[in-house]
Subunit: 303 residues, 2 copies
DNA sequence: GTCAATTACGTTCTCCGTAAGGATG
DNA sequence: CATCCTTACGGAGAACGTAATTGAC
């Protein structure tokens, strides 16, 4: 006789095992005494043996009942904890979210978002990676990151992507540079400038290259990995640089100025990238919503 | 929304997690696809979060679903094993029975019963204690033994007892003894005999004492604990002894004879003793039934 | 257009409660 | 005889199945 064993059976069994009294155990379970009796009876039928010895005066567990009681207590606790765990994740009181973001985002724009998230959901562990674009995608592909905020890579077909934002480029130069007083510049204006480059592995460089290559600019020969190095080199008058708006926080110093580059094709889209067809965890979904909300409130440069 | 979480929910969830296909998972669960869909929906309501991502083409676990799946697999296995364990005990394929029996029973009459039991139920562990009567009761009181086969002790009110059998006494003497050719003897016939006694702690002695004391028999001064010693002493012509029928197997030697003592008050009841109000385990119940069956087939001396 | 999940709705069946029955101290 | 578990029976609600609907590819 296959029983659809349920938490009600568990609760009833445990109540009776504890109370040793049908009527009172039935009350605790909010059942009539009759229904309760049937419940126990069906459980015993499924068990294939009596679990309680009872006459009209006494109720006690049989040896088999004792044995089952141990399992039943564990089961009840396990069911309870499984659902509690689920609800805690659903309520974002517990969980984990891992995201990857380009260094420029990770250093400047993202931290306040993460701080806000942690404030709202102190129980959730936040993991942040700040590698270059290729590795961002890799982390998402491996499932190490729930989603990434990064620039387009070579092969995005295996991901679900959404454009969050489009980052415009700025010329950064010393305050005493000939272009320093312009309100905006065009790519052509850069002719004659020595350019300090970021490494070719960076998304910044990859987006700059198609636009600047035709201009045959003089190269400074300097090609570094860190934006802070670019800032230092530029401040020392060794050249100028062209960087996305989101990285400008690295260049906010009295001796440097940043000037928008008015060039329609020169922009670096920032995408939300996640695994195709897989939904985000509740925790990650919350982070994503906060990212989008922050962007909506600060649409500078958004398209 | 409190769900009456049941094995059906578990099975459905696990089937869908494995199949990633509602229709096929529903078939495995012997449900219509519609009913199956509702089942999952209710489960998700109770969980407070989606467990599956699905559109008409793909079904996959959400991160929360993955987490729940681990717990669900454990739960399903635990429920299954708890019931399997119960059924194995009920079917006497598994379990344990402990019994205590007087040495005379444990040595002679009981072993074939235990052997038969083990043959029938090889999965059940049988534990046997063979102490004197007091300790037999003690073992039952402590729950170390499921039941005891023993003689009446001083305080039986705390136990449930049932008379199994009544053991009649026999005179044991050498073949060359004056009484050796009698077909039966009375207590009075023992006048002038030197009696070899068992220790006062034995139930044999305790039952003999009230009957033999008035006869003022000569004492041999020998008072030992083991029946085998009594046999040796008797065979050497140091005296005679009076022992219950169940112990006669110790005295089956060519130089000794055993003669029934025809004395209405001289008998030693053998009781089944168990804890009051507590039922026996299925395993122990089986042993008890075998004991009674064996007795019914061999009613020699039964009342 | 097809396949698959969801929704709608009528039906079935399980399970509950009221009430009578029975056993035990 | 009072207490308390069990059985009987009628009804409410949950769950199921058929079928129509929606949605994705």
């Amino acid at each position: 006789m296959p029983l659809n064993f349920s938490t009600r059976h568990l609760d009833a069994f445990l109540a009776l095992a504890e109370m040793r009294h049908f009527t009172r155990a039935a009350e605790r379970c909010h059942l009539s005494q009759s229904a309760f009796s049937q419940l126990i009876r069906r459980l015993e039928d499924a068990a294939g043996t009596r679990l309680f010895d009872r006459d009209t005066r006494n109720v006690a567990l049989t040896p088999e009942g004792e044995r089952f009681a141990e399992a039943a207590r564990r089961l009840a606790a396990d069911v309870e904890s499984a659902f509690a765990d689920l609800r805690e994740h659903a309520a974002r009181r517990k969980g984990r979210v891992a995201l990857a973001a380009l260094p420029s985002l990770a250093a400047g724009w993202l931290p306040p978002v993460i701080a806000e998230y942690r404030r709202r959901h102190p129980g959730i562990a936040v993991e942040l990676f700040d590698p270059l674009a290729d590795r961002c995608l890799e982390l998402v592909r491996l499932g190490r990151a729930d989603f990434a905020l990064t620039a387009p890579g070579p092969d995005l077909t295996e991901f679900d992507t959404r454009r969050l934002y489009s980052d415009r480029f700025h010329l950064v130069c010393r305050r005493d540079h000939p272009l320093a007083r312009r309100r905006s510049v065009r790519a052509a204006d850069l002719a004659g400038c020595e350019l300090i480059h970021l490494a070719r592995t960076t998304s910044v460089r990859q987006h700059l290259e198609p636009v600047l290559r035709p201009l045959q600019l003089k190269s400074s020969g300097l090609e570094v990995e860190q934006l802070a190095t670019v800032a230092g080199l530029t401040a020392s008058g060794l050249g100028v640089s062209v960087v996305p708006e989101l990285t400008l926080f690295q260049f906010r110093r009295p001796d440097l100025v940043a000037i928008p580059v008015a060039e329609p094709d020169l922009e670096r889209p920032i995408l939300i990238v996640q695994r195709k067809g897989r939904s985000l965890s509740v925790a990650a979904q919350g982070m994503l919503e906060l990212v989008e909300a922050r962007l909506a409130r600060r649409p500078r440069g958004a398209r």
